[in-house]
Amino acid sequence: MARQYVTANINGEEIDFLCDPSQTLLDVLRDELQLTGTKEGCGTGDCGACSVTLDGVLVCSCLVLGAEAEGKTVETIEGMADGDELHPLQRKFIDHIALQCGICTPGLLVASRSLLEHNPNPSETEVRYWLAGNLCRCTGYQNIVTAVIDAAKEMRGN
């Protein structure tokens, strides 16, 4: 079968692309659109490194077909900073050294942003449960949780 023609809004821009029907959204982002901020960890939905939002819903892009993005809005890590100005979550991840090797970081940032959109004032427990689908093998999570709570505080304006 011919490649599939897909139009989607990606980080605020209408983008069309061609993909094989078997290509995942993760493959499309990385290999067709060169949006390589989204990482592949497991490819089976266990690690969360490929987290993006699809019509505002946090998903693993490895478990979405590229063809399914037709007509949808996709937000990736590339859309998080405003030009050169980092998102508060990105700044707080740096301030609190919430990363080491960094491969989980884009997924954790996208997942954390989704959390704060749903719950601007999460408890530590709520942060840990929301991020349970994002694995980090370096940090032990403590600094990540601290960074998210600190960013939430700043974003609430106190």
Binding site: M1, Q4, D20, P21, S22, T24, G43, T44, G45, D46, G48, S51, L54, V57, L58, V59, C60, C62, L63, V64, L65, A67, E68, E70, A111, S114, Y129, W130, A132, G133, N134
Partner: protein, 289 residues
């Protein structure tokens, strides 16, 4: 691997026709959280994937009076965000909330959880205990079956190749009803049930249990409806003796295997312990409702 074809029809009839017309192995795509893993790991080689998410009826969650119709492609997150569902069927929501992560629940569906055919699926025992009835569409029209008749073995369902699960019906609940689902896992999140138990019960005005359904997951080749366990509760005030009988019946019904998540002996024991705990939660909820 064969070249894959992706189709996303917007009617059920078109979806059934696509499945009927394909001679090879097919896959229905709802949330994709199992199907795409199978594709990624080369477990399946399919020439056709039919995405059912553009079929409106399959996406809806409808409350009519006290009854619910849940489209087979409604996501776990949509059920969690529904204004009434969690209060009306807290035990079903217990199961849904345990499926994977936030990312997984944003895509995964109860329909897919059941049709994937895992004996350890978290939403299945709660749906069986709830008495859910599944509507299935095929080339010859629609038929209704109890949800416990869908899974017939690990990864196997009773649906024909060109049949599609449309929706689940949950009945209106009498007053003083409660349900609960508990699973045992070493971790609280991102894990697969060692044992799962769903309990649904109704009390009369004097606190006597007038009806009950009990279902076990991960202790046999399919999720089980255990009438002996329900019978241990019916006609009692769900006192200590009734809970002992419930636990014994649940353990007796468990026919598990040994695997990396638990031994046979351990699972048999835990089935009884969890049944008792789930019944206690369901009882508290029934007294409040």
């Amino acid at each position: 691997m064969e070249q894959l074809r992706y189709e996303a029809p917007d009617t059920l009839e078109a979806a059934v026709a696509l499945l009927s017309g394909e001679s090879g192995v097919t896959r229905i795509l709802a949330g994709g959280t199992d199907v795409l893993v199978q594709l990624h790991l080369d477990v399946i080689d399919t020439p056709l994937i039919v995405d059912i998410k553009k079929i409106t009826e399959l996406r809806e969650i409808v409350k009519d009076g006290g009854a619910y119709w849940i489209g087979a492609a409604a996501t776990g997150m949509e059920l969690m965000n529904h204004p009434d569902f969690g209060a009306d069927w807290p035990g079903v929501l217990d199961g849904v909330q345990l499926i994977g992560s936030i990312q997984i629940r944003g895509r995964a569906t109860v329909g897919g959880n059941i049709c994937n055919g895992s004996p350890a699926a978290d939403s299945t025992p709660a749906m069986i205990a709830a008495g859910a009835v599944a509507t299935i569409a095929g080339p010859n029209g629609r038929r209704d079956i109890p949800v416990e008749d869908i899974c017939v073995g690990p990864g196997q369902t009773s649906l024909a190749k060109d049949e599609i699960l449309v929706s689940f019906a949950l009945p209106a609940r009498p007053a003083n009803s409660g349900d609960a689902y508990l699973r045992f896992t070493p971790r609280t999140e991102m894990d697969i049930a060692v044992v799962g138990v769903g309990v649904n019960l109704t009390l009369d005005g004097s606190g006597i249990c007038t009806s009950a359904r009990v279902s076990l997951g991960a202790v046999a080749a399919t999720p089980l409806l255990v009438t002996e366990a329900a019978d241990a509760l019916i006609g009692t005030k769900i006192d200590a003796a009734a809970l002992d009988n419930l636990a014994a019946a649940a353990s007796a019904a468990a026919k598990p295997i040994d695997d990396k998540r638990g031994t046979k002996e351990y699972r048999i024991k835990v089935a009884g312990v969890l049944a008792r705990r789930a019944a206690t939660i369901a009882l508290d909820r029934a007294r409040q409702g």
